[in-house]
Each structure stands twice: as C-alpha cells, then as structure tokens.
C-alpha cells in the first residue's frame, strides 16, 4: 500500500484504488469507452485494466496504436475480410494479413492469453512465431474462417502450447500435409477444453489420437471434427466423460451397426453429419436433454425433422436447412418452448435432392412467432412471405436481437409484396434488435418501406440490405434515421454513387460500408462526395471468377469504405484499388 500512496491521485475525492476495483467489474466495451472519456486519469486507468479488445476491421488501426492504448490486454479478436467473403464474393488475396499483428503481439503484449483471428490470412511462419514466443502462455487460439496456413503451422502450435485450452479452426482452409499436429496435441496437452476443426478438410487425423486426447484431457467439453466414421469413435465417446458438445463425423456403414453406440452422459449439444432417417433413433435416448441441435449437414427429410424435434422439449438452439419445412417449424413451435436461436439455411436447388415439403414460408414463421416467445436470434431463407407473418413476429418476439431474412428467388410470384407495413411492425415491435438483414427482390420493399427501416431502427448496429427500395430517395430517407448504425452492407440495390455517398454523410454512427451492385457514375468521382479525413475508400473492380465447373461468372464492382486511424492500407493486392489512386 505504501507504493501506491506515493502515486496516489484523487478523482472526485476518491482514490485510484477505488476506481481500479470498480473497473474490474465493468466489461462492456461501450461502458468502458464512456468511462475513458471522463478525464485523462480515468482514461489511463481504464486502458490499464482493459482485458479484451475486438478490432472489427484490422485496417482501422495498427499494432503499435493498440499497444499504446491497451498494453495489458489478455484477449484480442481481429477481423479481416468483409463478411461477403463467406459467400465467395471477395478475392482470396484481398488482405487481412495476420503477420504484422503476430509480430507485435509476440514481442510486446506480455499478458496476451487468447487470440482470435476471423477471416484473415495467417501463415505458417506466423503460427511458428506465436508458438515460439507465446507458446507457454497461450490458452486460446481461434483461426476462424482463416486461410494461408498448413498443418505444419498447427504442428508448431500443438508442440509448444501445452496450456492450450481452446483450439478452434472451424471453416478455415488448411493445407493438409499429415495428421501429426493432432498427435502432438494428444501427446503434450492435458488442459484442452475445446477442440474444433469442423468444416475443414482435415481428414488425415487419427481417431486414436482423438481417443487419447479424450483420455488425457479431463476437462474436454466440446469437440467438433471433420468427416470421421462414427463407429471409429466408440473409444473416444467412452473416454470423453465430460463431453457436452459434439459435431461432425459421418455415417458410412449399415444403420444397424450404430444402434448400440453409447454417448457421453452430459452430451447436450449435437450435430451428426450425414445422419439419415435410419440412424436417427440413436439420438432418442438423450434427445430430451438436447439444448443445441445442428442438422445443417444431416440427410433428413421434413417428416424426420418433425419426429425428432418433438422429442426435444429443452432445445434452445437449432440449425437446419429449409428441408425442415413449415410443418417442421410448426412442430418446433409446439414442442420447443425454450428456443433462443433459430437458423434455417438454404438447401439444394435441385428438387430431387431435397424433400418436396422442404420450403419455409409465412406459415412456419407465424407458428414460430406465436410459439417460441423467448427467441433472440432468427435467420431464415423463405420461399414465400406475407406482411402478416412479420407483424406477428413484431407483436410476439420481444426478445429478438438479431433478425435475418432472405427471400429465395425460385418462386416468381410472392403472396404479399411489398413488405413495407410488415417490416415496420417488426421493427417497432422488436425494439431490442441490434442486427438486421433483409434480402428481397425488386418490388419487395418500396422507398417508403426503406424509409420505415430508417425510422424504426433505434438500436440496430449492423444491417444488410439486399434488393430493397426503388430509387435514391429511398436510401436518403433511410439514412435520415438509423441513429446507431455502425456497419452497413448493401447488395443488389439500385442506388447511385452519389446517393450512397450522401447517405454515408447522414448516417451519424456509420464507420463501415460495403456495397456490391450500384449505379456507377461515368467517372467514379461521385463517391468522392463522402471523402473526408480518416475515411478510407476502396474499390474492388468487376472481375471474372471461375465457378469451378468450367463456367465463368462476372462479379460486379464492390465499394468498401471505413474509418481508420491507420491511414490508407499499404498492402493492396492487384484486385483492390484505393479511391485516392483513381483520382490521381
């Protein structure tokens, strides 16, 4: 205490010590931001006690700036490529390189224990450096939808990071050389709690190593793997006594062989890939315990969904393709009253491969609205929609924070367009909404409807607008509202460059804009209306992309604009052009 009293300062009559104690309980970054603006001393204290930082776009700041501001962070999340990269719309070499960050993090951030890279390019050398300099303290490493590294890089991590609790590689594109990394992990680690290489193509892993990990890591709670025959995992399941979550695997053998499979007693989050009707009964013994179910990669039809969901009264999270159908959603609404998160993805387009009943429409949505009143997140691909269904959601789903709806383009005639009134009801009823995505078609929402969105989105921070509005005046009406909108994505709309630029100037919280599909001016100079200090503007010009099956597709231009403290990028690939260079 003597050391402290030497430097003791008082803020409003209270010593630093008091504030330090209080700050330890404040975790929300917005609250901390407000505190840091009070006075210089509080800014310093807040900076010294900040444990976690999320940098929503890695080009908005530099590693040195992060070090100056928050030198003692224990956890960092960095995001690179625009979200559209998940839909193959962004060139692979766009950017988001982890290297400059890893170099500074390894050198200067002595407290760092958890690192999460999302949609970034990570090299084997980066992983080697991280393993060498931070290996002894690193507890969490998440390479989330990343690319650029191979199993050699993973080998370095697994050899050196003996305290690793979480290794997350989901959906990363990893160059596979062998399965040695998993063997190293099995040999060196007893602390592992979560292992995830789901939706990667890593197939040379040995199930013996998985079993060894399960035996040695008593706290192993979550395991999500790639395609590995389920029958080979019998030993693994027997050893993983603490396991609560499992996804992956596949069913290649005869259905009867799976009948006697025993699962860990606490298993309540499940995703069994390539599971078909005949294998479904293996889930029945513990279906009533299930809190999370992933059926995105299962081979079930509509009836199967109905039968299974009826047995899951404690379900809170469901992911499925639209093969679940309206009937499946009705069963869900009747049986699963604790639902919090629902995601319905788009199934195959070819009719033979999916159930005839496998369409979701206003019928299913209305059932969900009336039955699952605790719903916080819904993302759904619909084939048909009405204003009434949206109104029902606005009236009933008071806890909704995240709403995403895409209207599929298969059906020519939609029952009830435009959706102006339904969307207004939804937005004014669901006033806790923070994230909103609406992807329709021409005629889906008028300029009036788009203005409604602006008027009724007090708390929304992120929006995706797809094929909305009729003209620039819709966008301008929209941009007069949306007081909290920080990140805006626009696709397929008919807005001109000038209107987009003016909208940016009106949206007072906006710090990030992505657009694909717009009415370009002849020179491209209309965008300069939004030019201002600290605002980077980049263009990805139109390009031809190989679809893989011999076809070539023309991708229209993108605009990407964002606030940055780092000035323009210094690592532009040929496929991305900063606007400044166009004007020279």
């Amino acid at each position: 205490m003597d050391d402290r009293s030497f430097n003791n300062q008082r803020i409003h009559g209270m010593s630093d010590v008091v504030f330090e104690c209080v700050l330890a309980y404040i975790h929300d970054s917005r609250d901390r931001q407000s505190i840091s603006l009070v006075c210089r001393r509080l800014c310093e204290l807040e900076a010294q006690t900040r444990k976690h930082v999320t940098i929503a776009l890695c080009y908005t700041t530099t590693p040195k700036q992060l070090l100056r501001r928050f030198p003692f962070i224990e956890s960092l999340k960095l995001k690179g490529k625009p979200r559209a990269a998940m839909y193959n719309l962004i060139p692979e070499d766009w950017g988001g390189f982890a290297t400059p960050w890893v170099e500074e993090l390894s050198k200067s951030f002595s407290c760092l224990k958890a690192l999460h890279f999302r949609r970034m390019i990570v090299k084997d050398e980066d992983l080697e450096l991280l393993a060498r300099d931070r290996g002894h303290v690193l507890q969490v490493l998440k390479l989330d939808k990343c690319s650029g590294f191979s199993t050699d890089g993973l080998l370095h991590i697994c050899s050196s990071c003996r305290n690793l609790k979480v290794l997350f590689l989901e959906e990363s594109q990893v160059i596979e050389k062998d399965g040695g990394w998993l063997h190293e992990l099995a040999m060196n680690n007893t602390q592992l709690e979560a292992l995830n290489f789901y939706m990667t193509d890593l197939s040379q892993v040995s199930f013996n190593d998985l079993e060894l990990i399960a035996k040695r890591c008593k706290s192993l709670v979550s395991v999500k793997i790639g395609d590995c025959e389920i029958l080979d995992l019998v030993g693994f399941f027997r050893a993983a006594v603490s396991l609560e979550e499992f996804s992956g695997g596949c069913f290649n053998k005869q259905s009867e062989e799976y009948a006697s499979l025993a699962y860990p007693p606490r298993l309540c989050r499940l995703g069994l890939n390539y599971m078909s009707t005949n294998e479904m009964p293996i889930v029945y013994p513990f279906a009533s315990r299930l809190k999370k179910l992933d059926l995105l990669y299962a081979l079930l039809d509509t009836e199967d969904h109905c039968v299974l969901l009826q047995r899951c009264p404690n379900l809170e999270v469901l992911e499925a393709r639209n093969v679940i159908g309206d009937r499946g959603l009705e069963v869900l609404a009747r049986s699963c009253k604790k639902m919090k998160r629902l995601r319905i993805e788009r199934g195959a387009d070819e009719q033979e491969l999916e159930d005839e009943e496998g369409v979701v429409s206003q019928r299913g949505l209305t059932a969900i609205a009336q039955g699952c009143l605790d719903l916080e997140y819904i993302a759904v691909y619909v084939s048909d929609i009405t204003n009434a269904a949206l109104e029902s959601m606005g009236m009933n789903l008071k806890n909704l924070c995240d709403f995403r709806m895409v209207l599929l383009d298969k059906e020519e005639v939609i029952t009830d367009l435009p959706l102006d009134n339904g969307i207004r009801s939804l937005l004014s009823g669901c006033n806790k909404l923070r994230r909103f995505a609406l992807y329709l078609r021409p005629g889906g929402l008028t300029d009036v409807g788009l203005t409604y969105i602006g008027q009724h989105s007090q708390n929304i921070r992120w929006m995706l607008l797809g094929y909305l509005g009729e003209s620039d005046s819709g966008l301008l009406g929209f941009s007069r509202g949306c007081p909290s909108l920080q990140k805006l994505e626009v696709r397929g709309c008919c807005f001109s460059e000038k209107a987009l630029a003016m909208a940016v100037l009106q949206l007072r919280s906006l710090r990030y804009l992505w657009v694909q599909g717009y009415r370009g001016s002849k020179t491209g100079f209309d965008l300069l209306t939004m030019a201002r200090p600290f605002w980077n503007i980049e263009i990805i010009p139109p390009r031809k992309v190989n679809c893989g099956d011999g076809r070539e597709m023309e991708h229209p231009a993108h605009i990407l604009a964002y606030y940055s403290l780092a000035g323009p990028r210094t690592d532009f690939p040929p496929s991305v052009i900063p606007l400044a260079s166009i004007t020279q």
Binding site: E345, G347, P442, G492, P556
Partner: protein
C-alpha cells in the same frame, strides 16, 4: 363562289411573301369548313410532335395553320390501338396532348426499371455460404456414388 362547286386552294404553291394573299384567301373560305380543316390539321400536328412556329413553312402543311390562326376548341377523333383492341375517342387538342405525354413518360420509366432490374438480377445471383456449398457438393457425390447405375452407364437393366 358558287355553293355547289369545289374550291381548291393550293397553299403549297404559294411563297412566303404571299402571306397576305393566303390570309386573304383563308378569310373567304366557309368558316365551318375552315374549322374542320384546322382541327384535323392540329390533331395531326400533335401526333407529329412538331413545334409551333410563327413563320409559315409551305413545305410542311402542319405548321402552316398553327402559327397564324387562333386554335378553336374543337374535338377530333383519336384512334388508339392497344393490346389487340381499337378504340376511338373524341378529344380536344389539350386532352390529346396530355394523353401523348403520359404515354411517353410511362414508356421511359418502365424502360429504366426493366434495365436496372435486368442488370442487377443477372449480375448478382444469390450466392451460397461456402460451408453449405461444400456439403451439398459432397452429398451429391455420395448420392451419385450410391446410385445403382453409377458405374454401369451403358448397360441396360
């Protein structure tokens, strides 16, 4: 002039300097005949979308009357061919002008909308999330591999 005989006045052969002569001749024509002639000429002039000019241009019959004579408010037949039907309406010149302007404006708007939707929907197909795309491809391969006809394409059952 006798009532039974037909008077032919050839305005086209006259030169611009003979303006006063022409005006003199017009004033001697039966007023009812004149009204009809003017009304039919003015309807024609709307269809041809010519501008009113004060100078007489003998080459263009339409302008001839318009710059010199005050237009009486008469109705003339307007024939509209639409979608396989034919309709005839008696409209005034102002009404005819309004109808034609409306037709023109509707044309240009729909052209824009069609163009923009054509451009946008052709160039921006709905793209799929990568993970799902990979799964659907794999499932297709499994489906084809398990098909009884997978390896025997040429054989008959």
């Amino acid at each position: 002039m006798s009532e039974s005989s037909t008077i032919e006045i050839d305005f086209f052969s006259k030169k611009a300097s003979d303006r006063r002569d022409i005006q003199g001749m017009i004033s001697k024509i039966n007023p009812e005949l004149l009204k009809t002639a003017i009304a039919s000429a003015s309807a024609n002039s709307f269809v041809a979308n010519t501008s009113f000019s004060s100078s007489l241009q003998l080459q263009t019959p339409c302008n001839q009357n318009c710059g010199v004579v005050n237009m009486p408010v008469t109705v003339a037949p307007m024939t509209i061919f639409y979608n396989g039907t034919v309709s005839v309406f008696d409209v005034t010149s102002n009404q005819a002008e309004s109808i034609l302007k409306l037709a023109e404006s509707v044309n240009s708007v729909s052209k824009n909308v069609v163009e923009s939707t054509r451009v946008i929907s052709n160039d921006l197909p709905m793209s799929r999330k990568r993970s799902l795309r990979m799964f659907l491809e794999k499932r297709k391969e499994r489906h084809e591999a398990m098909s009884p006809y997978a390896c025997s394409q040429g054989s008959t059952s």
